[in-house]
Symmetry: C2
Subunit: 442 residues, 2 copies
């Protein structure tokens, strides 16, 4: 048994002081309040919150941070640069990069990641002799670092959507595709993960998967299913021209909108789309630091929430890896467009990042500090200039409006104390990032 | 003589390696390139950029960080909370708070501050026996910390603008006002600062100063002049109803738009306002982290720049104190509204924060690493997760798109090495902030 003693911890009922958390087999066995620290307990000083889920990640995009701006353009020109990086990765180089990126996430307070994975095959599209080699190396990287992972295995069949139909995959896209939905189902059925790893489904987008294949995948697989949805206005235009409906309408007609579905972005939905997403109980994964970096626009976050959608967050392209910045940006972007403050309660934004993020990637009941939940904890120190002067009676607001990734001192996943004093205890994260990224651009 | 040896430094011509900077009497006397470190030189490892100016600060607003969100509302409800804090400050408590806030700025890489100061009198409006007591204590705080300061001494005469005229000051506003423009001119003429401190003028806003008084102040004083301008749509509406012109038009007619004028915010200007600001060669101080926090909206930054206005940055309400986040947010907010990436060059954003910020607060020729300039330097370490993997050939982009205040290792002002290893060498900043802020809310 392991034990953690928290000065202050955010329980489902609210903040409590002097909280003793007993852990057995990676699960919280007991939560005691107003206790004194047992001798063997590890003391977590500051504010302890539940582990947070990075519900939308493309780990390799991290290599592009601050390397695509001088060239300007739009989302679509950025995508070409991203494809050029994708084509360079091998199982070994992706393993090295993913170790570093997952360690960066962990040090920032993300204890679980939904990895939207589509780098399946060799650069020309030829499968590896072991067809899930790339996926397995990404999962190995997560296991090495200790972060919880849902490998969202992506179906990606087409190279784009024209009014008269789909273009074939070509060039740098070839390695993403399984060619047919049957081959995708065959490959993905061979991925068996356990422990801190599980498999989910990703349907890349309406640009890359036709409605019939969406329906087939949706009915064949009973697991968390994610899709990019209306990130760009052009995606809507293309979909309307080809399918006479919005992307959300097409996904709805294909039968995949449900409580186990997560729409990623949903930046440009129609009012009808918002109703469909809300009525189905789907999740919407907001990625505000990426959405601003890629000039996507500001999505209707508060309308989606009011309609019934559950919100969660992802750092997506990893222009920034900081769960606090994601939570804060949801509110800040809403303020910029609505001219109203306090649209979201801080407590709800923390729930989005933790409990609802965990649920969206298939770890129901995780992302909270309660008996029976996975023992995933994040401790924020209060010593930084950012947090100095915080109101002790408003810890939620301090977490959301003042904190940053740099304030994370300790991270625990499945009871294991992986990060202390802000650093991963076995990975030299900064050096690992620099080595892996510089190697790609040499 | 003091000397600094920089691994890489941003000179007016671009980035150079192995740069030796000799300093005499606080001024850069020599800049040598591709040299080896002299024995006596202090080595600055990483990226050295010119000192940056926080061209719009209300130091005491820092006390409100993360304390006003739960209450929601708008800019105007936030303002009531801010007034409640303003009324509490005494010369001593403001000195303690300002020391801490200026130290936070310095550690974040701001080497100069334009302090838009309006807490002139006692809480009921009675002048202190020494009428510039509060201003002097704020300047003393800056001098104690070592940051360069321009005290923008503010004229604030009225309590608001109705269609039929100005309301008198009342309640929490009483301490801001000198009652008449003549008394303001008399008081401000007694403020004599030297060394790293100088005086400028602030005209609070069209809500607080009538057009006649704006004209009197503008013609009486030959020094940098700042004003809040069109931060909120309501301000425009009130001004149009009362004066039959926009705030910018009224300031133009009062004769104050010029190269020594800085419009703060300019979030909601008309096309005509943009032309007036651009044609006059005025500066526009953008405060994007505050503008999003206060739900002001996104201003037309790129249009203002194209029209001829010089841009600079300020952290204003200090919801965030981070010059890198301000620079980045100018581009990010533009992306969110324009759907285009790379609207601003990174180099231009650094110039806005350094050279143009210094000019806007009256330190012409500062904010650059060149012979004859004040020896104000900021060094960014490259060891953090944020900056790991940066492209060595794109240092401007690394500074603007990856860096954060936490990456600042060393800060030099007027040749004095004030911050090393990220911490002020004589102020315990976090503790000072916490002590000063908690005392206000006890």
């Amino acid at each position: 048994m392991t034990a953690y003693f928290c000065e202050r911890a955010l329980l489902p009922e609210g903040w409590e002081e002097d909280v003793l958390i007993d852990v057995t087999d990676g699960v919280i066995e007991r939560v005691g309040i107003a206790l004194t620290a047992e001798k063997e307990a590890t003391v977590l000083a500051g504010l302890v919150i539940p582990g947070m889920a990075n519900a939308h990640s493309h780990a390799f995009h991290r290599a592009l941070r601050a390397r695509t701006h001088a060239l300007g353009g739009s989302f679509w020109t950025w995508r070409d640069l991203m494809y050029e990086t994708a084509i360079k990765l091998t199982p070994d180089s992706y393993y090295e990069l993913a170790v570093a990126v997952f360690a960066e996430m962990l040090e920032a307070g993300f204890t679980a990641v939904g990895e939207f994975h589509y780098l399946h095959h060799q650069a020309d599209g030829t499968p590896y002799s072991e067809p899930n080699t790339m996926a397995q190396r990404v999962v190995d990287a997560a296991n090495h670092v200790g972060i919880r992972i849902t490998l969202l295995d992506t179906v990606f069949l087409h190279g784009g959507l024209d009014p008269d139909g789909y273009r074939p995959l070509s060039g740098n896209q070839l390695r993403f595709g399984d060619r047919t939905v049957e081959r995708y189902l065959d490959r993905t059925s061979q991925l068996n993960l356990e422990g801190l790893s599980k498999v989910g489904t990703a349907i890349h987008s309406i640009r890359a998967v036709d409605p019939e294949s969406i329906a087939v995948v949706g009915s064949a697989l009973d697991r968390p299913t994610h899709a990019h949805l209306s990130e760009q206005p052009d995606e809507n235009t293309q979909c309307l021209a080809a399918h006479n409906g919005t992307p959300t309408e097409v996904f709805h007609e294909a039968g995949v909108l449900s409580q186990s579905f997560t729409a990623v972005h949903a930046t440009h939905p129609t009012p009808h789309d918002i109703s469909l997403l809300g009525d189905s109980g789907a999740s919407v994964c907001l990625c505000p630091t990426t959405e601003r970096d890629l000039a996507d626009g500001v999505g209707p976050a508060s309308e989606l929430k009011r309609a019934g959608a559950r919100l969660c967050v992802g750092s997506d392209s990893h222009a920034v890896i900081d769960p606090f910045e994601e939570m804060r940006a949801i509110e800040m972007h809403e303020r910029l467009t609505s001219h109203q403050r306090g649209v979201f309660h801080s407590a709800d934004l923390i729930t989005a990042a933790s409990l609802d993020g965990y649920a969206a990637i298939g770890w129901q009941g995780g992302g909270r500090i309660a008996v029976g939940a996975p023992a995933d904890l994040v401790c924020l120190g209060l010593g930084s200039n950012r947090l100095a002067g915080a109101d002790r009676s408003l810890p939620d607001d301090a977490v959301v409006f003042s904190a940053g990734a740099g304030d994370v001192t300790d991270v625990v996943v499945a009871g294991r104390h992986l990060v202390s004093e802000g650093s991963h205890r076995s990975v030299a994260t900064g050096e690992a990032l620099d080595r892996a990224i510089q190697a790609l651009f040499r």
